[in-house]
Symmetry: C3
Subunit: 210 residues, 3 copies
Amino acid sequence: MQNDIANQTLQILEIIGTLAFGASGLIAAARKKLDMVGVILLVLVTAFGGGTLRDILLDRAPLFWIQNEIWIWLLAGAAILIQFFVKARNIELNARAIDWPDAIGLGVFAALGTQIALDMGHSALIASIMGVITAAFGGLIRDVLVAEIPGLVNDHQLYASLAFVGGLFIWLLQYLGLDSNYSALAGALTIIAARILAMKLGWKLPSWRN
Amino acid sequence: MQNDIANQTLQILEIIGTLAFGASGLIAAARKKLDMVGVILLVLVTAFGGGTLRDILLDRAPLFWIQNEIWIWLLAGAAILIQFFVKARNIELNARAIDWPDAIGLGVFAALGTQIALDMGHSALIASIMGVITAAFGGLIRDVLVAEIPGLVNDHQLYASLAFVGGLFIWLLQYLGLDSNYSALAGALTIIAARILAMKLGWKLPSWRN
Amino acid sequence: MQNDIANQTLQILEIIGTLAFGASGLIAAARKKLDMVGVILLVLVTAFGGGTLRDILLDRAPLFWIQNEIWIWLLAGAAILIQFFVKARNIELNARAIDWPDAIGLGVFAALGTQIALDMGHSALIASIMGVITAAFGGLIRDVLVAEIPGLVNDHQLYASLAFVGGLFIWLLQYLGLDSNYSALAGALTIIAARILAMKLGWKLPSWRN
């Protein structure tokens, strides 16, 4: 019973994250003026890439999208519909349009990846790394496929740090006795808020540069 | 007995597709004037990349090339021989030389990947996606390794569409009662013909662009 | 008992190779002036990339770094410390600084990958290919992530050849009756020596080019 609620929370996170990253792939594809099939490919790869690599590394089978193919239909259908809508209305997408779905996907997938690994009995470190992989890999392939390689090295670093620290935060909350449903949700919201704040306030990481 | 014939058909498709994509990797390597080892690497990665990713995603083990290492020897040997021959004769390979092996590999590997997933009990959608992955991933790594990234986004879209629609066609034929040997063969031939036609007639996909 | 020693030898190789490739990732990150998190990411990916792909292809689980997370802490900690040290001392790293850790990592990981596959009962060919993958894949992702794609095609060819021939050499020594501990060590040292010699003497592979 308790377990059912936990599984439900994880499933809801999976759905929100999939939709958010799917949207970010759609915006990236629209901005690059890809063909219709390229748009669908980019949406699917961005939405499912991170979870797929996580499941391969953790030796979990079958994969989420193989078991729940309804999400492939939904994302591909939405990609086609929104594409026609954007074209018909002549909507221009600026570079910031991707920021919100990306922040939501980051927080939700980081929390999901962390929680899945914790539930399998992995340590705080491995679980947080799985959060980073779930949250960052889809966007990384998205950027490679639209040939924005330099972006990898810079933008993805803050993602990775936020996802990692958020994962440790989730582990800490559970270690302190909080129910895993609430801690995963709290972690997701914290990461999203931190990402939005980082963008608004221009947070940077310490570097070699000076 | 029936099952033996089906397995034989799949094996023949595996062999034809491996040879065709191996040839396309060889031509790409020759055009980029790679060193001898680079040629062998590109041939092997192009020939085995798609099937390897498919088997990892479907949790199938052991991998085709690990179980049938004779094909590694054959492809590497052929790569070395043909390399000397092309150099001795001073043959110039133009950009179109890759089109035929690529079309054949596309059709055969799409049919193979679809059929393998259908045989495992997966749905038409998942099976067609496995066809796309089997057919497209080897060529995608090939293009990344020779640093032709922009090509990813454009050329590979028509490949993916043809492989996907071809996969649905194979599923439909079987759903209508056709034997799986004939439907896989029919699917492979249809995809190859469509690819060749698309190149000759300059078919394009609908896009955001106008 | 004999088996324990063999496992110890493999573990020592794993540790030396992990440290060497971690150092090469650190140097690459420092030269590109990455942020602190980027440095840690590059160190971890370079150190664990090859072994991870090898284990996925051979269907081995759990992964080395998931089972021995102490190495993640050590590498990340060292990356942070060395980073501050290099910055404080204003040390300039030239392009050759990466050569030694890269050569050591190459030899050790090639021997390790080969020996692991031989121990699983795979043939000389498959084992040597696993050596190549273990030795080359980490550095390959490292180069893609710092956007040095052209390097892939040229530099990595000599790596691959040395790792492959070294793998066959290890297999041969064992076939001739040498204990697997000594043959793996001898193979590692031979590959390192050959790599250093190749750099000093400017060895090249035969190519299409003339």
